[in-house]
Symmetry: C2
Subunit: 82 residues, 2 copies
């Protein structure tokens, strides 16, 4: 079955406390390859049948209105897989 993946990240200008916590954990663990971590969400929407233009438009709409909070988050990707 096709799946639409929607990626949502905290806005770049906002602090991301979860990401900061992981960055701190990396420092304590001696992991120095990464200078920063930001943590967002990945939604997998299962589609029965075909991914038509209407279904994609509906995915864009729910990504903006239901799956993300536009005050603090950006939808960074909408992609069909499989």
């Amino acid at each position: 079955m096709p799946t639409i993946v929607v990626d949502v990240m905290p806005k770049a200008e906002l602090l991301d406390p979860q990401g900061k916590a992981v960055t701190g954990a990396f420092a304590r663990l001696g992991v120095d390859a990464f200078s920063g971590v930001r943590i967002g969400k990945r939604f997998e929407l299962t589609v029965e049948g075909e991914v038509s233009d209407e279904v994609l438009a509906e995915a864009s709409r729910v990504a903006a209105e239901v799956l993300s909070n536009s005050v603090i988050e950006d939808v960074v990707g909408i992609e069909v897989v499989e």
Copy 2:
């Protein structure tokens, strides 16, 4: 600066209560294009400089050992962007 994106999803055989809640919200809102929703995490790791094989190997290691809980989650993707 290059970024390594790590995608982590709840294992397929586990219930995903957050995803179920969104599926229920879709039903109440009259959104019928999607038969299911699963919610995972998207990590963006910032790399200073070049993404060498060592850095990618380190990303795989922290994805498995730090960013995910292998009892309940799968790392479904590790990808370099930019």
